[in-house]
């Protein structure tokens, strides 16, 4: 029982949390991939930017004496999401749109996004320093505990984790509604399907592009902020997430937001289950097994340092054997 709780805490809850982060990031990446047709390398730093906006707004709020029943960082989340969305649009206008209008090859825009990511990195660290920050300003985080019958240890989820999962579910539902019920959402799907035909039909592609950046920026901010609330806010939050997020988007099928969510959780759970020490469970099972079939008491599929290998290997396998991804997105 203890072992089961351990499994749930370390592998399942953790998988849920990191999976949600990946999912929120991957939605943005896949929308940008599908509608703007390039791999947005600056997405990780967009997430970091969002997290810093949250921190800054929370700090301003705290110094103004605003009191909230929940941590002020959470209150700052919504305005920070708007700020990040606006920044995303500004970045697009300044750096990517001119290249699109000049009809360059997509890879050129990818290189531009590398330039943007370096600029963001530099700028963020210039202004905010390279140190680690606590989003809660040293206040304690609320912790929710659940007990399973028969276990002494409890299943633990912190408040930011709960908010994260709740937000991901809301994002899923909201996205579904937006893409299937609203005119702009359908127009986004249309542009993603066939941009030429969308123009012919008279769809305002500028509006669709703006909507894409708003969605991607807002969700990136949420992902970055909540991740920082879960651990700490570090300026290099970004780069480590880029590869798993891309993997999630590609695995789920480019241009398929729900594929991206599925991909995010697939990769998140694969990671946590791969580095989980199954020996803890095996120890419980060994007394039940004959002497010949004793399982090792310490066993992980992948050592923790090589955690990155999991999304990477999944990505390579998908790229080689099924590039359209699980949900059959585009391979253009």
């Amino acid at each position: 029982m203890e072992a089961l709780v351990f499994l749930i805490n370390k592998a399942l809850v953790a998988g849920l949390v990191i999976g949600s982060i990946y999912a929120l990031g991957a939605i943005g990446v896949t929308l940008i991939f599908g509608i703007l047709r390039f791999a947005h390398f600056a997405h990780g730093d967009l997430m970091t930017l969002g997290a810093f906006f949250t921190l800054a707004l929370a700090g301003i709020g705290a110094s103004l004496g605003i009191a909230t029943p929940f941590p002020i960082a959470l209150a700052a989340l919504l305005p920070a999401m708007l700020l990040t969305a606006a920044s995303a649009i500004a970045i697009d206008r300044t750096f990517y749109r001119p290249l699109r209008l000049a009809k360059v090859r997509p890879i050129i825009i990818v290189i531009a996004s590398v330039g943007v990511t370096l600029m963001l990195q530099g700028a963020i660290r210039l202004v905010a320093g390279v140190g680690t920050r606590n989003m809660f300003f040293d206040q304690a985080k609320d912790i929710h505990r659940f007990t399973l019958p028969g276990a002494r240890r409890e299943i633990v989820m912190t408040e930011p984790q709960v908010v994260l999962v709740a937000l991901t579910i809301c994002a899923m539902v909201g996205l579904h509604w937006f893409l299937t019920r609203s005119r702009l959402g359908k127009a986004m799907r249309a542009v993603s399907d066939n941009p030429d035909l969308a123009r012919i039909t008279g769809i305002d592609t500028d509006r669709v592009v703006r909507a894409t950046w708003v969605t991607a920026g807002a969700l990136a901010c949420a992902a970055g902020s909540l991740l920082s609330m879960d651990v700490f806010l570090k300026p290099d939050l970004a780069f480590n997430l880029l590869l798993p997020i891309f993997a999630a988007a590609i695995v789920g099928g480019i241009g398929q937001p729900f594929g991206a969510i599925a991909g995010g959780f697939l990769i998140g759970f694969s990671e946590t289950l791969a580095i989980f020490d199954w020996g803890v469970l095996f120890r419980e099972l060994n007394p039940l097994l004959p002497a010949l079939l004793q399982l090792p008491t310490s066993f992980a599929f992948v050592p923790t340092e090589y955690k990155l290998m999991v999304p990477f290997v999944i990505l390579i396998i998908v790229l080689v054997y099924r590039p359209t991804g699980v949900f059959r997105g585009k391979v253009f």
Partner: protein, 414 residues
């Protein structure tokens, strides 16, 4: 010619302001980067391949050369290490063979689903084989001898081996990824680079991990205490010779029938394919040769710095900086790549003291004019300024001179 003039002017400024000892060091490193840039230029300019895994190839090349040339470690050879290493290599070989056979299983009649299953099983089996073998070997080596030590080969041999290993790794990457579209290739190469770095950082038995390995042997006289100038100048001459030799070789190749074919493919892939040219094989060749150059340059660089530190390989310095060099120099243009490398490296290195100066001034004047207390980590933030500038350079070059980024195209007959 303007480029040469600029470079000479810059060189004069640098030597005058920083003194010959520091300057020779800067130019040797810049020269190594020129070698690396030539390799990357080959991949991007000749074949349009977006390789963002440059760091990984540099690290792999440097590691190979380090192991090949470092003096041997008697503790290792006297322990059970070599035996275990031998067994491990055998297992590794077997693992690779398993995967290769599973991949070829379609030739013995496996359908696509069966083949996929076979490959999955082979990968799993290979994984188990390798991981089971690593741990006892690593433990034995690390406790008895810290690491396997080197093989004491001459430095040039080490450098050549670096090229070979980088080529092998890139051959493997290419086999898996080269058919992908450009941004997928970019993502895949970044991933490979991260894996390589992580491996080198954690395989203490192979590289001493964070303990680092030094001093690395030099092909020329090593600097004795305080006597840097002669040694560095010799190294500089060596690097210059290497650059010239490789540049001439590349230009010869470019003007040869092989080069003409490569240009035909680059300018009009479909037509070339229709004419029967094996486009994929050519791209593979270019990718591997370019990677060999990158690995080679990486080895030359790291030997010069004298220390092998896996944690010191950073995407920023070792991938993006090289990309700026190639982009600025005009993709596909070898002279441009060399020029870009030298210029950018000098600017990059000089921008460190410049940034510190700027920020010191900021700190002082800020206090005087605005009574502003600068944050205590202002110096580390100065470094970030350089990151910002690199990013800005990339985006500016793309905005203002996108042709600098695009591979040269043959002028079409009007």
């Amino acid at each position: 010619m303007i480029a040469a003039a600029i470079l000479i002017a810059v060189a004069i400024v640098v030597f005058a302001s920083q003194g010959p000892v520091y300057s020779t060091r800067m130019f040797v490193e810049a020269g190594c980067y020129a070698l690396i840039a030539l390799g990357l230029n080959l991949q991007w300019g000749y074949a349009g391949l977006f390789n963002v895994g440059v760091m990984g190839l540099i690290a792999a090349g440097a590691a190979t050369s380090m192991i090949a040339t470092f003096p041997s470690n008697p503790l290792f050879w006297n322990s059970g290490g070599p035996g275990l290493l031998g067994w491990f290599l055998a297992r590794l070989g077997l693992a690779i063979l398993l995967i290769v056979f599973a991949n070829m299983s379609d030739r013995i009649g496996f359908g696509p689903k069966a083949r996929a299953l076979a490959i999955a099983v082979a990968i799993a089996a290979a994984w188990i084989l390798v991981t089971e073998g690593v741990n006892p070997m690593a433990a034995e080596i690390e406790t008895k001898a810290t690491w396997i030590g080197g093989f004491g080969l001459p430095v040039f041999v080490g450098w050549l081996l670096a090229a070979v290993v980088a080529g092998l790794i890139s051959w493997f990457i290419a086999k898996v990824c080269l058919g992908l579209r450009a941004d997928y290739l970019a993502i895949a190469t970044i991933g490979f680079a991260q894996i390589i770095k992580t491996f080198l950082k954690n395989a203490d038995w192979l590289t001493r991990g964070t303990l680092t390995v030094s001093p690395l042997p030099w092909p020329v006289v090593k600097p004795a205490e305080g006597e840097f100038l002669l040694a560095r100048s010799l190294y500089l001459c060596l690097v210059a010779v290497l650059i010239i030799v490789i540049y001439l070789a590349l230009q010869r190749a470019w003007n040869s029938p092989w080069g003409r074919m490569m240009r035909a493919i680059r300018d009009n892939e479909e037509a070339a394919a229709a004419m029967g040219k094996d486009v994929n094989r050519r791209r593979l060749e270019i990718f591997v040769i370019g990677s060999m150059l990158i690995g080679f340059g990486g080895a030359v660089l790291i030997h010069f710095t004298g220390v092998f530190d896996p944690a010191g390989f950073i995407d920023l310095n070792h991938t993006f900086l090289v990309w700026v060099m190639v982009i600025l120099g005009g993709a596909g243009n070898n002279r441009g790549a060399i020029f870009g490398a030298l210029l950018i490296y000098v600017i990059w290195t000089m921008s460190a003291p410049a940034a510190t100066l700027l920020f010191d001034a900021l700190r002082d004047y800020g206090k005087v004019w605005f009574d502003w207390d600068a944050p205590s980590d202002l110096d580390s933030r100065a470094f970030q300024m350089r990151v910002f500038v690199i990013g800005l350079t990339i985006t500016l070059v793309l905005r203002l001179a996108p042709a600098g980024v695009l591979p040269e195209t043959v002028k079409h007959r009007k």
